[in-house]
Amino acid sequence: MNTFTLDDLVVIMRAGGGEDREELQGDILDMPFGELGYDSLALLEITTRIENKYGISMPEDVATSVRTPREAIDHVNALVRAA
């Protein structure tokens, strides 16, 4: 798999958290998910979608430990590299 990018993440965030999310534009890399309107449940949904799409397994506490899109992207890429 190629590198997991912000664009990839945004596609999954829209699918798992609601598609008409105007706030997912601009510089969101370091914005906390909470400020982007994504609660714990939405993050769990996004996590599962990423796992299913890329065939990786994220840690149990990922939804609470990963706070921003940048952290999520780094996390996924590390897992994909290790796989």
């Binding site: 798992g16 958290g17 609601g18 769990l44 949904e45 599962t48 299913n52």
Partner: protein, 409 residues
């Protein structure tokens, strides 16, 4: 006892979304029953239904909430918004624990649930969405409305199938009367017109197999042969009379003055007097309201559409009011039966009748069945000065409920 009043109505019905749209349709005898379009029902025993075609969730529900809710809850979101606007009430102005949500649910988020079971069995457990845990269960609508409007008081969910709308409204009255809350969102909705919902409904043996939208649901008619399913319902704003007065509520549609619930004996068991428990519910609701039968000016009937159940209800009304002793109507002939939302919509309709002094018609009943000798208001609305209305509802398995609403002073 503190009076419970209704100050806001939100309707999502097959023949109209929005109270006035719906009410215009009802008075014009316009039906929302049409061939089923939600899925290809060609191979199904039921092919007509009352679909809420005017409702577009994308227009009324934020996408963040859409992904985590079934259509049944989405309909309630919109109905609640309309009811609150209608009431001119801003929930943020009430003490948080004085507000509650108490809805009826017949079968929960059926369509959402079907999608997720399908995903589980076709793709595997990892493909079940995180939102299944909050979308399918029967409390989803009450929980979501409570969160959306900041209502932290004693919330509830009652399941008595098609009687639920009256039970929810009756319990709301009690909550307001004993000071448990001052401002309540009540009523209910339903949206089970997906393949699994319709398949399960047709297993109850009461659905009509007619392809003709005008023939599928003819309660009390000689040609009655079951009912047509529908979706939708109504959410009401109910308040204690003091709360409504204190905030200067723009209008009071009516008071909730009486309520009772009873249960039928087990089939095949003791019931010397068929339909006696439905009548008992009505009698107890009247007693609760402190009214004599002569003071009831209209009855919104359960109107099953099943010949035997129609006969039992007619007999109950005959015993209580005398032969053709009260005008009876069933505007649900224009929507189909809405399960958890049906009786709630009847409450809304009865309140509008009282407001405008007119009894809405029953449609598609060309001739009354023998044994159903009712003063059924048919085809055209009938003007009448209405002080009190009795609403009846029955739920699958033997639930009976009766609610009395009265004109505001």
């Amino acid at each position: 006892m503190t009076a419970a009043v209704v100050t806001g109505i939100g309707v999502v019905a097959p023949n109209g979304v929005g109270t006035e749209n719906y009410w215009r349709s009802v008075l014009a005898g316009r039906s929302g029953v049409r061939p089923l379009t939600r899925f290809d029902a060609g191979g199904y025993p039921v092919r007509v239904a009352g679909e809420v075609t005017e409702f577009d969730a994308a227009e009324h529900v934020p996408s963040r909430l859409r992904v985590q809710t079934d259509r049944w809850t989405q309909l309630a979101f919109h109905a609640a918004d309309m009811a609150l606007t209608d009431a001119g009430a801003d929930p943020s102005e009430f003490p948080e624990y004085d507000m509650a949500v108490l809805t009826s649910s017949s079968s929960g988020g059926t369509e959402f649930g079907q999608h997720e079971i399908e995903r589980l069995w076709s793709q595997g457990s990892r493909y079940v969405t995180a939102y299944q845990s909050i979308a399918w269960f029967y409390a989803a609508t009450t929980g979501q409305l409570s969160i959306r409007h900041g209502m932290r008081g004693p919330c509830g969910v009652v399941c008595t199938e098609q009687a639920g709308g009256l039970d929810a409204t009756g319990r709301t009255r009690r909550l307001l009367a004993d000071g448990g809350a001052r401002f309540v969102l009540t009523g209910g909705t339903d949206a089970s017109l997906c393949p699994y919902g319709v398949t399960a409904q047709s297993a109850n043996g009461l659905l009509s197999d007619s392809d003709d939208p005008d023939r599928g649901f003819q309660p009390f008619a000689a040609t009655a042969g079951g009912y047509v399913p529908g979706e939708g319902g109504a959410i009401l704003v109910a308040e204690s009379a003091e709360a409504a007065e204190a905030r200067g509520a723009e209008r009071v549609y009516g008071r909730i003055t009486g309520y009772a619930a009873t249960f039928d004996p087990r089939p095949g068991g003791r019931d010397a007097d068929g339909g006696s428990r439905l009548r008992k519910a009505a009698e107890q609701a009247l007693a609760d309201a402190g009214l004599e039968p002569a003071e009831i000016d209209v009855v919104f009937a359960d109107a099953s559409g099943d010949p035997e159940r129609d006969r039992l209800e007619s007999m109950a009304l005959d015993r209580l009011f005398g032969p053709r002793g009260v005008p009876v109507t069933a505007p649900k002939t224009m929507t189909g039966r809405l399960y958890g939302g049906g009786a709630a919509l009847d409450v809304a309709t009865a309140l509008l009748s009282i407001r405008d002094g007119v009894i809405p018609p029953t449609i598609n009943v060309p001739a009354l069945a023998p044994g159903c000798d009712l003063d059924l208001v048919r085809d055209e609305p009938r003007p009448a000065s209405l002080r009190n209305a009795l609403i009846l509802a029955r739920g699958h398995g033997g639930f009976n409920a009766a609610l009395v609403i009265s004109r505001a002073h």
